[in-house]
C-alpha cells in the first residue's frame, strides 16, 4: 500500500496538500482536478521523480526515499502524460525497454521477456504495430504502447498520467476495462489522473478530487462533488 501522511505536493512552490490517504493494491484509483492544480506533480511525486515538499510517503510500510531508484523501478512504474516517438525504435524494442529489470546487462531478451512482450501486445491490441517505428505511429497508438510498456515492467503499482488523453472513445473504454481487469486479476494498484470523467464514473474505481477551494486531496463518492468543483 502507498500511504501518504500530511504531505505537501509541489515543486518550487506548494501546489496542494494531502492529509491522509492510502492507495491499496487490487484497485484502480482515479484522480481528477482542474488543469494546473497539480495532478501530474502528484503522480511524479509518487513515482519518486519529485520529492514531497513536506511529509513522508511510504510504500509497503517503508519510506519511499529509503528505496533506491533500482528498487523503486521494480515496485512502481510511471507513464508520463506525453510520449515522444523515437526514430528507428520499433514498438517491439520499445516494449522490451520496459523489461529492463529482467533482461541481462546488455539488454538481451530471454524467452520469458519475449513472451511477456507478446502477451502485453495482444492485451492492448497493438500486435500489428510490432515492427513499426515509434515515431511512425499515432499519438493514441503510442499511448497504448506506453501503457503496455509499464505493464511488462510487472510492478505492483502503475501510475498513469492522463492515459486516455489521445485515445478515441472505444480505446478509452478498452483501457479503463483493461486497467480494472489488471488491477483485480494481478492485484495491482493503479493510480491514474484523467479528465474523462463521464466514462470513468461508469467504472467501480476509487475517486479522488483535488479541490480548488481548500487545495486538498479529497476522496469522493459521487459525481455531484465533481460537478460542484467544475461548475464553480
Amino acid at each position: 500500500m502507498i500511504k501518504l501522511n500530511n504531505i505537501v505536493i509541489g515543486f518550487d512552490k506548494d501546489l496542494f496538500a494531502v492529509d491522509r490517504v492510502g492507495f491499496q493494491k487490487g484497485k484502480v484509483h482515479l484522480l481528477t482536478g482542474k488543469n494546473g492544480i497539480g495532478k501530474s506533480a502528484f503522480l511524479r511525486t509518487l513515482s519518486g521523480l519529485l520529492k514531497p515538499l513536506q511529509g513522508e510517503i511510504s510504500l509497503d510500510d517503508k519510506a519511499l526515499d529509503k528505496y533506491s531508484d533500482r528498487e523503486l523501478s521494480t515496485h512502481i512504474s510511471f507513464v508520463p502524460s506525453s510520449q515522444k516517438g523515437v526514430s528507428f525504435l520499433s514498438v517491439d524494442a520499445y516494449l522490451m525497454l520496459g523489461r529492463s529489470n529482467f533482461t541481462n546487462m546488455f539488454g538481451n531478451a530471454s524467452e520469458e521477456d519475449l513472451k511477456a512482450v507478446e502477451k502485453a501486445k495482444s492485451i492492448f491490441g497493438i500486435t500489428h504495430l510490432s515492427h513499426k517505428h515509434t515515431n511512425q505511429i499515432s499519438s493514441g497508438e503510442l499511448q497504448l504502447c506506453a501503457i503496455a510498456k509499464a505493464y511488462v515492467q510487472e510492478t505492483d503499482y502503475i501510475l498513469l498520467d492522463e492515459p486516455t488523453a489521445h485515445l478515441d472513445y472505444q480505446n478509452k473504454k478498452r483501457v479503463y476495462e483493461l486497467l480494472k481487469q489488471i488491477s483485480i486479476d494481478q492485484n495491482k494498484g493503479i493510480i491514474i489522473s484523467t479528465h474523462d470523467l463521464d466514462l470513468a464514473f461508469k467504472f467501480p474505481f476509487n475517486f479522488y478530487l483535488i479541490k480548488e477551494s481548500d487545495l486538498k486531496l479529497h476522496e469522493i463518492e459521487g459525481f455531484n462533488d465533481i460537478e460542484n468543483e467544475f461548475n464553480s
Partner: protein, 332 residues
Amino acid sequence: MIGVKSHTVLLFVVFVGILGLSFFGLMLGDIPTKFSDLYPALLDYSSQDINQVIIREIRLPRIMMAIVSGAALSVAGMLMQTLFQNPLAGPYVLGINSGSSLMVALGVLSGVGFFNSELGLIGSALLGAFVFGLFILFTASFLRNQIGLLLFGVMLGSFVSAIITILEAGSQAEALKSFALWSMGSLNNATVEQIPMIFSVFIITCFLTFFIIKPLNILVLGEEECRLMGYDIKKIRILIVFITALFTGLITAFCGPIAFVGLAVPNLTRMLFKTQNHMLLLIANLLFGAFFLLTCDITIQLFSDILLIPINALTSLIGAPFVIYILIRKLR
C-alpha cells in the same frame, strides 16, 4: 526478429573490407613493395630490409591509426547523439575536440617541457576533452534547444580557435610549424612503438562502453525514463562524457582534429540498420568508422603524387554535405 541475418552479413562484409583495405594500404606508397615483404615486416621483422622498414615503421602505424581513429570518433559521436538526443551532435561540432586542441596548443606553443612530452600531450588532450565535455553537459542542462546546443558548441570552437591564434602569433617558428601540422590532422604522427599503448586505451574504452549499453538503450527515451528504470542518470551522463573524452582526447592528441567522422558515421549506421539497439550500433560504428577513415586515408595515398590532402580536409569534404543532408531532412 527481421534482418538480424542481413545485419550480420553487412557487418561481416565491412569487417572483411577493413582487412582488405589494411593490406592494400600496407602495399600502397611512393616506394613499391612486394606482397612477400608483408609477412616478414609484420611478424619476422628485420630492420636491415628497407622495404620492411617502410611497411612497419611508416605504413603500419598509419593504417592502425586510421582504424582506431575512425572507430573511436564514430563511437564518441554515437554517445554524444544518444546523450543529447540530437542526431547533429558529435565530438567535433560540440567543441569537445576544441578542449583537446586548446590544451595541446598551450603545450606545444608555450614550449613548457612537461606538455611537450608524450605523456603530457596525451594527458592534457584527455583533460581538455573531459573538461569541455562537462562544460557542454552543464550547458545542455539549461539549453534545451537542440540547435542552440550545437551553436554553443560551434561558438566554443570559435572562441578556442581565437585563443589559439593569439598563442600562435606569439610563438616560435619551430613550435608554430609543428602545431600547424598537427592541427591539419594527420594519421602519420604516431610511431609504431606508440601503437600498443594507443590500442590499449582504445580497447579499454570500448570495454567501458559495453557496460553502458543498457542505459544507452533507455536514454533514447529521455533522461526521465532512465531514472524511472532505476539508473542514476547523473552518473550515467558523466560516464558517457568520460568515455567520449577518452576516445576523442586520445585521437586528437595523436592525429589532431578530425572533423565530421563522429557526426556522419553514427547517423549513417542508424539509417542503415534502422535500430536504436546500442549493442548493434556500437559494433556497427566501430566497423563503419574504421572502414570510413581507412578509405579516406587510402584515397589520400592514391592522390599523394598530385596533391597531399590533409585527412581533416577530406573528412570535412565528405562529412559536411552529409550533415547538411541530415539537417534538411530533419528541419524540413
